[in-house]
């Protein structure tokens, strides 16, 4: 019952040798792409063709290919993770495109995410924000209290989980006109703000994470909401509001 068929497509792909050189859009033609393939499988096919022509394949980030590691990061036809909602690029399938389509593929575009090569960018700024406070300061010895000794309201636990489901892919930054990382940071702050664990260091957490976010060169949120629309995990703008409340509380303490 598979409705898979093969299509021919044209591609305009950003090529850039490294962070220091200037990049440009290059044109490629690819035939016989199965509509059952994922977008990354289509790129594999193109790379196979390029290597067989003894040309340099296109570098792109990817790993788990099941939408959870957050490593894939393409800007496709002007949208983060392409023309579908609630998914990462690895889950975008070629059935979303038509025979003869021209598809534009670019890297994440943001000052805080410099290009490493072609479609690969450096997102280590996210790690540094996390290192500035995205944790509970508990020893790893396992000598903690029994897990059920602190009951947590189910709704709070569920909400915390929804915030924690952020995969750190950076689509929010890439799609934001200000290059803001507030959806990502808001999600991390919210996860802990909704739980009793680590409450004691809530003030430092939000102040340090926001400070680091600013230092990394991310822009500010102006409530446009593009991040929420393009987030593959449906992380809600509510988290930005919660972060702002936490920040305000921490600032006047």
């Amino acid at each position: 019952m598979s409705s898979a068929k093969n299509i021919n497509i044209n591609l305009k792909i950003w090529r850039q040798k490294n962070a220091k050189t200037k990049g440009s859009m290059e044109t490629y033609k690819l035939d016989n792409v199965s509509t059952a393939s994922s977008f990354l499988e289509m790129l594999d096919q193109l790379n196979e063709q390029l290597v067989n022509e003894r040309k340099e394949p296109i570098a792109f980030d990817h790993d788990c290919r099941e939408g959870i590691c957050g490593m894939c990061s393409l800007y496709i036809n002007g949208r983060a993770h392409g023309p579908d909602t609630g998914i990462t690029t690895c889950q975008l399938h070629m059935r979303m495109f038509k025979d003869g389509d021209t598809i534009y593929v670019e890297p994440w575009r943001s000052k805080a995410f410099p290009v490493i090569k072609d479609l690969v960018v450096d997102r280590s700024a996210f790690d540094r924000i996390q290192q500035a406070g995205g944790f509970v300061s508990v020893n790893t010895s396992g000598n903690t209290i029994d897990a059920n000794a602190t009951p947590i309201n189910k709704d709070d636990a569920d909400k915390s989980f929804e915030a924690a489901a952020c995969i750190g892919c950076g689509a929010c930054v890439a799609t934001c006109k200000n290059g803001s990382a507030m959806l990502f940071v808001g999600a991390k702050v919210s996860q802990y703000a909704l739980l009793p664990q680590g409450k004691i260091e809530a003030t430092n957490r939000v102040l340090n994470m926001v400070r680091q976010m600013d230092e990394e060169g991310f822009g500010n949120c102006t409530n446009t909401g593009a991040c929420e629309i393009e987030c593959p995990k449906g992380i809600s703008l509510e988290n930005i509001a919660r972060m702002n409340r936490e920040y305000l509380k921490a600032s006047i303490k």
């Binding site: 499988e41 189910k154 996860q191 739980l195």
Partner: protein, 669 residues
């Protein structure tokens, strides 16, 4: 080579406690004098690096991804086991230990598995303390569900994203140590060789994947936590970058590689769609709690489905073969993974597969019964004791969505079919490797100072792994075992001082790495790396896959040896060494996969019995179930490297002793 498992004396329930009490310690003021390298930052690596950093050692951690948060542990869906008995259904440390040993088909070490069961409760406490948002019930307490191979509810979970939340918990602990300067993190780095000085592991050679720079890193101990080797098959549920290089290089430097033939085939993956497919996607095993697995009873119905003339929903109840419920009434759809996988293969081989492509491989995972049952329950709970059929179906679907919504969405995105309306199509796929680097009770390989944790080692799973037990092992190794055993080893090193990186040993190791890179870049062949990887995968799946036999294995060994020759003669790797070069990365990894693939076939050939994930077709009972040979094969098969020709590797046997569990046939009927 001598295999000394170092299993402590004493009663099974006291071994670890007594042993820990007598391990040597490193005083806090001496720990900063000691360097430790951790390769891999999944559950095992991140938790080990965080714990050792917390203790005060200088830790250097390496991962090939752009961030430690991307490690493939993040993709585990269903849950993590722990013997907490919160559900009062008779769970205990002993029962978890027993289920795991039995699930592993009596090919795991008793002492290791008991230790795993013992610390399982601590893992949950630790993760909750770190802010891992596990599922809760309305009373605010932790929720549990059950998994294949058990009759209790001991699995803790966070929707279908448990691995993600546990990994992010370990990543946050690691991030804290990085922020404090106790762990130095090397992203986008790959370990390409191990450096031994005076027989001890003293460092690694790593390649900076962005600049191509070859780096020397020294340490007093090296921990390998680099995951499994399922990508030998090309198609698997593993992340594309998962590879065996760190483990294989350690093997080449003298560490025994154990039970390579033990590969778990996961029963519930989305079937292969076509020749361009790059990887397979797993559907959580937790779905088997609610889904019923079936194929058509009549061959003509299966043919009509494949031809697109019939829909599964048009097949009447009495024309469906719920083969797991039929064959295994006691466990039904919740039999262990190897049993469920083989049963699916058996039905598809017999002509009842439903997938409409050239494989014909696929069975149904059907939620319609659950929709009706749960829908009715939900209506009654709302006080509606006379619900209409539409109300029941709507409420049932709502229930499913709350429980498995993300999995159903994922399935629909990939297959373009709505699993609320039509049964999911599933088929087994390569998932988890139980084999790996041989380690003793301390998780130390046969190279002193080289420790191996998580999926990269062979230790706790035997011939098969039960659901929700890999996450448990990764975190047990990293948080609660290595901090003790590594400290015991390092107690003799407090006066050693910094290990210099300008020694001949580092020169030699660096030369090996550079020679290999230069070889591939200058080879100038005609075929891509993927071309060879796909061919290796086909040999492995067809001849070292779900069913193996003597003739097929002998053919595989010869075919892989020939493929290796061809690979070195004819592979083409574009680009240069001093830049981000994914083709070069793949070439170096595939070189290792080819060698390991041959060893897997050799290991499967010598093991003339069927157990767990290793099914030798010659050894089955009259009902097609596995036939173990405890008399002759109750051992760990550990291989010693003997040079480039893999067929020369020497097999060593570690006898397994079962003192506290009585060995029995594994029966899920």
């Amino acid at each position: 080579m001598k295999l000394d498992s170092k299993i402590p004396e004493g009663h099974i329930s006291q071994k670890w406690t007594d042993y820990k009490d007598h391990l040597k310690l490193v005083a806090p003021n001496n720990r900063p004098k000691i360097d430790i390298i951790v390769v891999g930052t999944g559950l095992a690596g991140a938790s080990a690096a965080a714990s050792l950093g917390e203790m005060g050692y200088n830790v250097k951690a390496f991962c090939f991804q752009d961030s430690p948060r991307r490690a493939h542990s993040i993709a585990a869906q269903g849950g993590i086991n722990a013997a907490k008995n919160y559900q009062n259904d008779g769970d205990s440390t002993f029962r978890l230990f027993y289920d795991t040993i039995k699930g592993g088909d009596y090919r795991a070490r008793e002492a290791n598995v008991h230790r795993l069961a013992e610390v399982s409760g601590n893992i949950i406490d630790q993760c909750v303390a770190q802010g891992v948002p596990f599922a809760r019930d309305y009373g605010g307490l932790l929720d549990n569900r059950s998994f294949g191979g058990t009759q209790v509810q001991r699995t803790f979970y966070a929707a279908g994203q448990t691995g993600q939340q546990l990994l992010l918990g370990a990543y946050s602990a690691l991030s804290r140590q990085i922020g404090l300067g106790r762990v130095q993190m090397f992203n986008r780095h790959e370990m390409l060789d191990l450096v031994k000085v005076d027989g001890k592991a003293r460092g690694i050679i790593a390649r900076n994947l962005v600049t191509g720079e070859i780096e020397r890193h020294s340490a007093h101990a090296v921990i390998i936590a680099s995951g499994g080797y399922g990508n030998v098959y090309f198609l698997s549920t593993n992340a594309m970058g998962s590879n065996v290089t760190a483990g294989w290089k350690v093997h080449k430097q003298g560490a025994a590689f154990a039970n390579p033939c033990y590969v778990q085939i996961h029963p519930t993956c989305i079937p292969v769609h076509g020749t361009n497919q790059s990887k397979l996607t797993l559907m959580s095993e937790s779905l088997r709690n609610s889904g019923r697995i079936w194929v058509p009873k009549k061959k003509e119905d299966a043919e009509a489905i494949r031809a697109g003339k019939l829909k599964p929903t048009q097949i009447a109840e009495e024309d469906r073969d719920y083969y797991l419920e039929r064959r295994y009434p006691a466990f039904g759809n919740l039999v262990p993974r190897d049993v469920a996988s083989r049963a699916a293969k058996e039905r598809c081989d017999a002509g009842f597969g439903i997938e409409a492509n050239d494989t014909n491989e696929g069975v149904y995972l059907d939620f319609s019964t659950e929709i009706q049952n749960k829908g009715k329950q939900a209506a009654y709970a709302k006080g509606n004791h006379h619900p209409t059929a539409e109300e029941i179906t709507a409420l049932g679907k709502q229930w499913l969505e709350e429980k498995y919504g993300n999995l159903f969405t994922m399935y629909q995105k990939i297959t373009d079919e709505n699993p609320y309306e039509t049964p999911m199509k599933i088929y087994p796929a390569v998932h988890y490797t139980m084999g790996g680097v041989w380690v003793d009770y301390n998780l130390q390989s046969t190279i002193p100072g080289c420790f191996v944790a998580g999926e990269a080692n062979f230790s706790d799973h035997g011939a098969n792994r039960l659901g929700a037990s890999a996450l448990m092992q990764g975190l047990a190794d990293g948080y609660f075992v290595l901090p003790y055993t590594v400290s015991d080893y390092l107690a003799d090193d407090i006066r050693t001082g910094k290990i210099p990186t300008n020694s001949p040993e580092f020169d030699e190791a660096e030369k090996r790495v550079k020679d290999s890179i230069n070889f591939f870049l200058n080879n100038n062949g005609t075929k891509t790396v993927d071309h060879f990887h796909k061919r290796l995968g086909l040999i492995m799946w067809n001849k070292v896959g779900m069913g193996r036999n003597e003739q097929g294995l002998k053919e595989a060994i010869a075919e892989i040896a020939a493929l290796k020759d061809e690979f070195y003669k004819d592979v083409f790797v574009p680009g240069s060494a001093d830049e981000l070069n994914p083709e070069l990365e793949k070439a170096l990894r595939v070189a290792d996969f080819i060698e390991l693939g041959q060893l897997m076939a050799m290991d499967a050939l010598q093991r003339k019995e069927s157990c767990g994930g290793h099914f030798r077709e010659e050894y089955q009972d009259s009902e097609g179930e596995t036939l173990r040979d405890d008399e002759n094969f109750k051992f760990v098969g550990a291989w010693e490297y003997k040079g480039d020709d893999i067929s020369k590797e020497e097999l060593h046997k570690e006898e397994l002793k079962y003192e506290f569990i009585k060995i029995a046939a594994r029966n899920y009927k």
